[in-house]
Every structure is written in structure tokens, then in C-alpha cells.
């Protein structure tokens, strides 16, 4: 197990280095190391390194790749929780309406030019987060009312109903504001373009708190996957734990996608790969999903910005293009081996 973890960490670091090294513009690896070194340790930089390259590495590629890494991790951990708590391999925050809710919040900002007082520049992420989480809370509290036992199927079904309903509102809003619709569609496809250090420093603490919180419940998660009845007999307050975990997972996804748009499949692919390699104990599944989810996202972002020189394609399309067949392979090959 230790060897596997070490290898994963090495892969993560290599992927990040690779992501910083590649882009539309060629910057030599030596210069990249010099630039990062000078920024971190204030070592002198030779005159030959241009300001442009410094900016490309330090202000564009590095924060962008790190944001992709953190967001990939957040979304993957969220996926782990959703799948384990709801005991459904296809469950994700999106099933419970987080993405449609976030789209609704984004719609108010993008389509109607809504701007929050005091934090104009952050209207989009804040609205996306609040509406994403709100939609999901609405769904699960509805499920709680309908079904005293708080059964998984009830949660998933109400989540999907609320999700479809909210989607309909978004469609309606788009139809009214057709001129701005394209921007909302672009937002929904996701992009890591124009991410900066500021966003990274906002996301990092959210990611840390969220992931540590769900990690705290790794034993309860293990028990929940055996079945709710067993968990109850082992003294787990299943209803409370489920509430906490679902909210934490939705908050992780909600805050992540509110910054970069709806990006799918990472939360399905990474947890399944991790379970295959590291087994199903959440002590390993949670941190490793964070790590490998980050790696997967960084790779997808790298593809989205390098596959056509000087141009970008939406990262949401890349995650689905790589993710869907990959997921099918992982999922079905697991089944065959029983």
C-alpha cells in the first residue's frame, strides 16, 4: 500500500510539472525551474528570462494547473461521498441538483447581470455556490419530509426531480435572454482559463476543510457501504451522518464548479479508479481520490489548452471525452472479474 501511495504522489508531482512545462508557448524547462525558484526563494533570475515568460509560467500556467488540481480533488472526493452514502456507483453531486442549481445562480449573474453588493467580482462564484448548495438542500430536506427513513432511493429521486425542475427554470431564463445564452452555455462547459492565485487561495482552505471533514467520517462511510441496518446496529446515527456528508460533498462540488463551471465525469472516474487500486477502505479512498482526481483534471485541462495551438477547447468536453470511455472500461472490467 505504501508503495502505491508513494507512486501516486510522484505521479501527481510529475503531472503538475508537465502541465506547467507545456502550453501554446514554449518555455525551456531550465527557465521554468529558474522562474519558480526565483519566486519561491527569491533567487536571482538571469536577464535572458523574459518578463513575458515569467508571467506565463508564474501567473498563468502555475495557478491554473494548481486550481485544476485542487478542483479535481474536491469534485472527486465529493463523488466518493455521494457514491458511498447513496450506495450507487453513478451518484454524484450533479444527480442531486448541485450543477443545475449552480447554473441557476450563474444564470442570474450572466443572463440578467445580477451583481452582489460589496463583492461584485465574486458574484458569479458566490451565487453559483449558494444556489448549488441550496438546490441540493431543498432536494434532501424534501426527501427527509417524504420519507422518515431517509432512504437512498428517495434522496436520489427527489434530487433528480428538483434538478430537472431547476434546469427547466434555467432553460426558461435562457430563452428570455437569448443574447446572453451563449455565455451561460460556455460557462456550463467549464474552463480553467483566467484562473489566478487569488482563486487558488480561496479554494484551498475550502478544499482542506471539506476533505478533512469527510475524512473524519471515514469509518462511518465504511460502515454505510455495508448497509444502513448494519451501520445502525454498530451505533452510527445514520440520518445525521448522511446529512453531514451529503452537505459537505455538495459544498465541495458547489464551491469548485462555481469558479470554473460545470465539469462532469471527474467525480465518477477518479473514485472508481482509486477503489480498484486501493480497495474500498475510505481511509485510503478519500485522500487518494483527491490526489488522482486532481491529476485527472490537470491532464484534461492540459489537453484542453494544448490540443490546438493558441486555442482552447472547453475542459468539460475533454473530461467527458476521456472520462466516458475510461469510466465504461473501469466499470465493466471490474464487473467481469467479479
Amino acid at each position: 500500500m505504501k508503495r502505491k501511495i508513494t507512486i501516486s504522489i510522484i505521479i501527481s508531482i510529475l503531472t503538475l510539472l508537465f502541465a506547467v512545462a507545456l502550453g501554446s508557448v514554449y518555455v525551456s524547462p531550465m527557465d521554468i525551474l529558474r522562474i519558480i525558484g526565483s519566486k519561491l526563494f527569491h533567487s536571482p533570475l538571469p536577464e535572458t528570462v523574459s518578463d513575458t515568460n515569467i508571467s506565463i509560467i508564474w501567473n498563468l500556467r502555475l495557478p491554473r494547473s494548481l486550481v485544476a488540481f485542487v478542483i479535481g480533488g474536491m469534485i472527486s472526493v465529493s463523488g466518493v461521498i455521494m457514491q458511498s452514502v447513496l450506495k450507487n456507483p453513478l451518484a454524484s453531486s450533479y444527480t442531486l441538483g448541485v450543477s443545475s442549481g449552480a447554473s441557476l445562480g450563474a444564470g442570474f449573474v450572466i443572463l440578467f447581470g445580477f451583481s452582489l453588493p460589496l463583492m461584485g467580482g465574486f458574484s458569479l462564484p458566490v451565487m453559483g455556490f449558494v444556489f448549488g448548495l441550496g438546490t441540493m438542500l431543498l432536494g434532501i430536506s424534501f426527501a427527509g419530509r417524504l420519507d422518515k427513513g431517509f432512504e437512498n432511493n428517495t434522496i436520489i429521486l427527489t434530487g433528480m426531480v428538483i434538478s430537472l425542475f431547476v434546469n427547466a427554470i434555467v432553460t426558461l431564463m435562457s430563452a428570455v435572454k437569448r443574447e446572453q445564452m451563449q455565455r451561460l452555455i460556455y460557462w456550463q462547459m467549464g474552463s480553467f482559463s483566467a484562473q489566478d492565485w487569488k482563486n487558488l487561495f480561496i479554494l484551498l482552505p475550502i478544499a482542506a476543510v471539506g476533505i478533512l471533514l469527510v475524512f473524519h467520517y471515514h469509518r462511518e462511510l465504511d460502515m454505510l457501504t455495508f448497509g444502513e441496518e448494519q451501520a445502525k446496529t454498530m451505533g452510527v446515527n445514520t440520518k445525521l451522518v448522511k446529512w453531514i456528508l451529503l452537505i459537505a460533498a455538495a459544498a465541495l462540488t458547489g464551491s469548485a464548479i462555481s469558479f470554473v463551471g460545470v465539469i462532469g465525469f471527474v467525480d465518477l472516474v477518479a473514485p472508481h479508479v482509486v477503489r480498484k487500486i486501493f480497495g474500498s477502505s475510505h481511509r485510503y479512498v478519500i485522500p487518494m481520490s483527491a490526489l488522482l482526481g486532481g491529476v485527472f483534471m490537470v491532464i484534461c485541462d492540459l489537453v484542453s489548452r494544448t490540443v490546438i495551438t493558441n486555442q482552447e477547447i472547453p475542459v468539460g468536453a475533454v473530461t467527458a471525452l476521456i472520462g466516458a470511455p475510461f469510466f465504461a472500461y473501469i466499470f465493466f472490467s471490474k464487473r467481469e472479474r467479479g
Binding site: 508557448v25 498563468l60 437569448r178 455565455r183
Partner: protein, 336 residues
């Protein structure tokens, strides 16, 4: 439902013989048409043969048997009621002095100067067929912008016998001039476009004359959509041509047509001047200046980021001259 209404209307139109329809579909329309229309049709058929020898530049009303996309059309005898889909078409019609013949327009054309603000407005990519047929247009000018929507949303109008004329968005100044001449031709007198085109040529030539003297060309980046999905263009777009006329150079000139540009390509391209035609955010110029990592770009350092009128620069019509002047004055304030 729409189909039923469309077919009822189609029958009604057959009886009243308003429309023009496609000439190549062989609809029963031809038999029920009064003599004069039939004459007109046979005339256009004769002219179609002549058209082979005529250059496209020389379109007179009677010669026109195809739209700018190459679809066969038959123009109605008289065009009194025009509907426009696409602001460039509206601008051209107004410029030609046919603004008063426009009876319906798409919402994007809403802010075209000289257009009656109380006109019925409709959605370009999902036109309300019933409402529009009520205003009884003789012809509909449709921009190429709707083509991206996939299926032909204007087919119901064709079926109803209205003459639908496609004008694909032109990607060159020469193409824009041809569009203007073509639309003038459809409206009955291609010569009516001479004045506008001459005016365009004069203004463009005046700027070109100065542009040609500039040897130390400034590098320009022109943004159509703001971050995070920055949209710009390379070669094969009239805006690129305009930058060259001014005597400057597009940092993306090696790309083709419209692109979603990668941020680092702009930073590495290090433009001397940044232009933006974004009007959907509050302060597009400050947004560009404030982007992380863009502070190393010469244009940002020199405070050379400017807004260019959105309609004038984005709509391929005679109004691009206005954008051309704005661009020239902002890129080389000491020369223009």
C-alpha cells in the same frame, strides 16, 4: 401545430398569390398565378441564362435568381414589405434608404439607427412564424448567423411562399460591398448602392493611404468575448483586414477565422494595443487591464486598451467604416 398553420396559410397564399416560393420545387403555385407573375417568372428564367455571362457585380433586380448562399430564389414583382433577420442586413437596408420598407426585425437589429422602434421584433434563431406572417413580408433577409442553429428555421416561411434570401456573414470587405450591392439589386436598383460603396471606398482608401506609410507596425489584439472564454480572430475575417489597412498587425494573424484564444498566446504575442468590442460587462477595458499576468503586456503597461463600438465592428455592413476610424485613432493616435 406550426406545420398545420403553415400549410393552411400556404393554401391561403396560393389563392391570393402573394409569395414567390422557390422556383425549382415545381409547386402547383405556378398554375394558379396570375399572368403577370407568370410573365415575371419566364423573364427570370430567360435572365438566368444571361446571368452566366453577367458578372456577379452587375446584378440588376431581374437578374437575381439565387441568394448570396446560392439557393435558387424567385423575387416577387414588387417588394414593399421587408423583414430582416440580422443587424447587418438591417443596417444595409437603412443605409440604402429602404428603412421605411422594413416591417419586422430581429431583436439584435433593435438598436440599428433609423429603424422604427415599434416594429414587431422576433427571435432570429426561433422566429414566431404566425406573428411574422401576419405582417405579410414580401421578402426576408436572413443573416448567415442563423445557419449555426442547424436546421433551416426559415423553411416555414418558404413553405408559406415568402421569398427567403440568405446573406451569409461576409468575411471580407469586398464581400460586404457585394452584399450591399446585392441587397440594393434585390430591392430594385443595384445602382443605389454606388453611393454607399463609393463613400466606403473613399474612407477606407484615405486610411489605407496613411496605413501604407507605416513601417513600424504595432501589434494588435482584438477581443470579441471577454475572459474566461476569450474570443478573437485570425486571417479570413474582415476585422483582420481592417487592422492591416490601418497599418497594424493582428497578433493572431496566423490563425484562421474565429477562435477561442488561449490566454498565454495573448501574453506571448505581447500586443502594443488591445481592442475590445465586448459590451455585455460593465467595464471591459478595466477587466482586461486587471487580468492576472497581463500586466507584462505592452498594451496594458502603456494603458493602450480601448473599447470599439460593438455594432460597428461586429456587423458586416457599411458601418464597419465607423469601427475602422475608431480603431485607427486608437492604434495610431498621432497619425489619424
Amino acid at each position: 401545430m406550426k406545420k398545420i398553420i403553415a400549410s393552411i396559410l400556404f393554401t391561403v397564399l396560393l389563392i391570393t398569390c402573394v409569395g414567390c416560393g422557390s422556383s425549382n420545387t415545381g409547386t402547383p403555385e405556378a398554375d394558379t398565378k396570375p399572368e403577370e407573375t407568370q410573365e415575371a417568372e419566364s423573364n427570370t428564367a430567360d435572365d438566368a441564362v444571361n446571368e452566366e455571362t453577367d458578372s456577379k457585380e452587375n446584378t440588376a433586380a431581374a437578374d437575381i435568381t439565387t441568394d448570396r448562399q446560392g439557393n435558387e430564389i424567385t423575387l416577387p414583382e414588387q417588394i414593399e414589405r421587408v423583414m430582416v433577420a440580422g443587424p447587418s442586413n438591417a443596417e444595409i437596408l437603412v443605409g440604402l434608404g429602404y428603412g421605411d420598407k422594413i416591417v419586422a426585425a430581429d431583436v439584435y437589429s433593435g438598436n440599428v439607427e433609423g429603424l422604427d422602434g415599434d416594429l414587431p421584433m422576433f427571435d432570429m434563431t426561433a422566429p414566431d412564424v404566425e406573428k411574422i406572417l401576419q405582417v405579410e413580408p414580401d421578402v426576408i433577409f436572413v443573416t448567415g448567423m442563423v445557419q449555426s442553429a442547424g436546421e433551416d428555421v426559415y423553411k416555414p416561411f418558404k413553405d408559406a411562399g415568402v421569398c427567403v434570401i440568405y446573406i451569409p456573414s461576409s468575411n471580407s470587405i469586398a464581400g460586404i460591398k457585394e452584399d450591399i450591392r446585392y441587397i440594393a439589386g434585390v430591392m430594385g436598383d443595384a445602382a443605389k448602392s454606388d453611393e454607399i460603396i463609393q463613400e466606403m471606398d473613399q474612407e477606407i482608401d484615405a486610411i489605407r493611404a496613411i496605413g501604407e506609410t507605416i513601417t513600424d507596425k504595432k501589434k494588435v489584439y482584438f477581443e470579441i468575448a471577454a475572459a474566461p472564454n476569450m474570443y478573437s480572430f485570425g486571417d479570413g475575417v474582415f476585422l483582420n483586414e481592417m487592422i492591416e489597412i490601418i497599418g497594424a498587425e493582428n497578433i493572431l494573424k496566423n490563425e484562421n477565422e474565429w477562435i477561442t484564444v488561449a490566454e498565454e498566446a495573448v501574453v506571448a504575442g505581447n500586443p502594443d494595443v488591445i481592442l475590445t468590442s465586448v459590451n455585455y460587462i460593465d467595464n471591459p477595458v478595466d477587466e482586461i487591464k486587471g487580468r492576472a499576468g497581463w500586466d507584462v503586456i505592452t498594451a496594458v503597461k502603456d494603458d493602450a486598451v480601448y473599447y470599439i463600438d460593438t455594432d460597428a465592428s461586429n456587423n458586416p455592413s457599411q458601418n464597419i467604416v465607423k469601427a475602422l476610424k475608431e480603431m485607427a485613432e486608437n492604434i495610431y493616435p498621432d497619425k489619424y
